[in-house]
């Protein structure tokens, strides 16, 4: 029931909003623009607003002369492992806390809630010492294990499992199903949505994690991408196109994931903040 005046106002605000969005994302555009040029052009004033011609030299150099392919592998392995293991461990724990009445259930739950109050970054020193004594510095396990302690995922699963109707599990138990079967064959399929959302947001968070992998990995072949592109000097002097090319390559996987799974990412953000 919009009048012409309102419709005009809507168009204007529409344009303004897109304009704001474009200005906001401009630095990202500028980085991509630079990655397609050559060194000399980046020092030009006035600057080149569009890459013309579009050159892939910087990308070719980065792929050939840095360990970025190896870093990709490391990031994929660790992020997939973390997302997968966190989901598995926390859905099992969340199920037990939700569905099985056992002695000490409240205590366990409170202990897990207490973990919310512990900021991850303040544990870095003893964590490093611990990983070192286990011989896991510079290894995948060293990167993966500390990131598996995710109290929030347990709480999320518990909350969602609490909402499962009692009749469902009762009926399944009547048919002789064990708890494990109920969890994996019944509850999990019914909660596929949040599981996917959690999986994707966990993957993105662990892919982007800088601090812990930076502390625990010092050998180049074991670095994850966010660490590798800042710790290893792969060219002499400042070569902005190459720097931007490596940055673009590092960002590509999570950007692509986001564009494809937008809804899931938004859902993941919401549920991990406690908003259903």
């Amino acid at each position: 029931m919009t009048t012409r005046g309102q419709s005009l106002a809507n168009t204007v605000t529409g344009f303004l909003s897109v304009a704001i969005g474009l200005v906001w994302i401009f630095p990202l555009y500028w980085a991509v623009n630079t990655s397609f040029t050559v060194d000399e052009k980046t020092a030009q004033i006035p600057p080149y607003w569009f890459p013309a011609p579009i050159l892939l030299d910087a990308f070719k150099y980065v792929i050939k002369n840095t360990a970025i392919i190896r870093w990709y592998l490391n990031s994929v392995i660790t992020s997939v492992a973390i997302a997968g293991c966190v989901l598995l461990l926390t859905m099992m724990c969340g199920y037990a806390l939700s569905q099985i009445r056992f002695r000490g259930r409240r205590f366990v739950f409170l202990a897990i809630l207490a973990g919310f109050m512990i900021p991850g970054a303040t544990n870095v020193v003893p964590l490093f010492m611990f990983m070192n004594s286990l011989g896991m510095v510079n290894s995948y396990w060293g990167v993966i294990l500390p990131q598996l302690a995710s109290p929030i995922a347990v709480v999320i699963y518990k909350q969602f499992f609490d909402q499962m109707p009692g009749e469902l599990s009762d009926a399944a138990k009547m048919d002789g199903a064990t708890d494990l079967r109920i969890l994996f064959r019944l509850f999990l399929p019914l909660n596929w949505g949040i599981t996917w959302a959690l999986a994707i947001i966990l993957f993105i968070w662990s892919w982007n994690n800088f601090f812990w992998p930076f502390i625990v990995i010092s050998k180049t072949p074991m670095m994850t991408i966010p660490v590798g592109i800042t710790q290893v000097q792969s060219w002499y002097g400042i070569a902005y196109p190459r720097q931007m090319a490596s940055a673009v390559l590092a960002a590509l996987p999570t950007a692509v994931l986001f564009v494809i799974f937008q809804r899931r990412v938004a859902q993941g953000v919401a549920i991990t903040s406690g908003i259903k």
């Binding site: 011989g135 510095v137 510079n138 010092s218 710790q231």
Partner: protein
């Protein structure tokens, strides 16, 4: 039939695999921090080594120079996950040996590849042996000297000529003695309007330190003796040095807040008459001139004598083996590493192309170096002026002193603190860092 064929192939591969491992070259992991103009020459030497033989393959990784490098080394030693060999500054030996990061190298081990202590610059070897005696195992060295590197003056002949400061021999004239030096810089600014001397200070405490330490040492100042800090001369010579630098910045004779790449760019684009920088940027100007992208005629000279003594800050790159208690280096790997080191030392002329003064005597005193241009424009004089960093765990690359320079001395260039205050705070912080 097919299954047993597959099984057979698998068996063959499994049996042959050890053979492949045996035939494969020994991979040597090298960590370095050489990313200046000399880094290109360094990589060339490594590539040449790898192609010259097929038993050893050196895989080099360049990490960020300074604190980050030495931090990574230490954590890798703590974790027992070290590289096989690395570059290391002699100025960091006190801190490194003390922290248990370095593995001592005996002369016997050197002899196995045809090297001996006497083959190297005695100044460096004697210092190294002193350090071993004070902080580690006497009679050994904790790194094989590769070079001495120092600060030099790169100059733009065209600008100097315009300012009337270029002698008949094509060399700068009127720059000896601190007063003449400052007056000549002012003359450049006055008559050409260009920046007299490009020097970086933003996010680069090393450059400020090098200039400060040079001026300090030229007045005869010393900051450590017998493993102890002797900081009193900071209040006199140190203050004079800092005052000079601060005044240059105030009068626009040096930039107040430009970073390292910016300072190099100022010189190479012809906007500055001098550049105060380490010799490692020599390949940069050499390569630019070859490509025709350097818009002027350049020259190189040792840092002039401004006070009583002709001295210039210097440091020395060494090739060291990290200490690994959990997985000590095997005899085979040690041999491979030392074989590579011997190659690098014998081909030190190539490294001198990176601007450095080789430590290997046969090359240092040999005919090739004297003929190597443009390094020979300064190498003779610069070698005489070498003044290495104070011997103390508090000084040297990657040690607390550089951070303290950034926080207490650099602000003088920005006019944020007086030279006297800066130096006394610097002194106080050094003392507390030494505890």
């Amino acid at each position: 039939m097919k299954r047993s064929l597959v099984k057979g192939i698998l068996l063959l591969v499994i049996l042959c695999a050890p053979l492949l491992a045996w035939a494969a070259p020994t991979p040597v992991t090298l960590w370095d921090f050489l990313s200046g103009g000399d880094g290109v020459r360094w990589r060339a030497i490594i590539d040449a080594f790898n192609t010259s033989q097929s038993n050893i393959v050196v895989n080099a990784t360049t990490l960020t120079w300074g604190d980050p490098f030495y931090t990574k080394v230490h954590t890798s030693v703590v974790a027992g996950e070290t590289p096989d060999v690395m570059t290391y500054h002699i100025s960091h030996f006190p801190a490194g040996i003390k922290a248990g990061d370095l593995r001592p190298i005996t002369e016997a081990e050197l002899k196995s590849v045809g090297l001996a202590f006497k083959d190297f610059n005695p100044a460096l070897v004697n210092l190294s042996l002193e350090l071993s005696k004070t902080y580690g195992q006497a009679g050994t060295i904790y790194g094989i000297p590769l070079d001495t590197h120092t600060s030099i003056i790169y100059y733009n002949k065209d600008i100097l000529k315009k300012a009337g400061l270029l002698g008949a021999d094509g060399k700068p004239q009127g720059f000896t003695g601190i007063d003449n030096f400052t007056k000549s810089l002012q003359k450049i600014k006055g008559s050409t309007g260009l920046l007299p001397m490009a020097m970086s200070s933003s996010n680069d405490p090393a450059s400020v330190w090098r200039m400060f330490y040079t001026l300090f040492s030229q007045q005869g100042g010393k900051l450590a003796a017998n493993g102890q800090l002797t900081l009193d001369q900071l209040d006199t010579y140190g203050k004079t040095a800092m005052q000079a630098i601060g005044d240059w910045a105030k009068n626009g004779l040096i930039p107040a807040n430009v970073d390292y790449p910016g300072s190099v760019a100022l010189f190479t684009t012809g906007k500055a008459a001098f550049m105060f920088n380490g010799n490692w940027e020599v390949p940069t100007v050499v390569d630019m001139q070859k490509k025709g992208t350097l818009p002027f005629n350049y020259g190189l000279m040792a840092f002039p004598k401004l006070y009583g003594t002709a001295a210039t800050w210097a440091d020395s790159h060494n090739i060291s083996i990290p200490n690994n208690d959990k997985k000590p280096i095997s005899a085979a790997m040690l041999k491979a590493v030392l074989t590579w080191v011997a190659y690098v030392e014998k081909n030190a002329t190539a490294w001198a192309g990176g601007g450095h003064l080789p430590a290997y005597l046969p090359v240092l005193n040999g005919p090739d170096l004297a003929k190597l241009s443009p390094v020979n424009q300064y190498s003779g004089q610069a070698a005489k002026q070498v003044t290495l960093e104070p011997v103390s765990p508090v000084f040297g690359v990657g040690a607390p002193a550089y951070n303290l320079v950034a926080n207490y001395l650099t602000p003088v260039l920005l006019g944020q603190i007086s030279a006297g205050d800066a130096v006394s705070q610097f002194k106080a912080q050094l003392l507390s860092a030494a505890e």
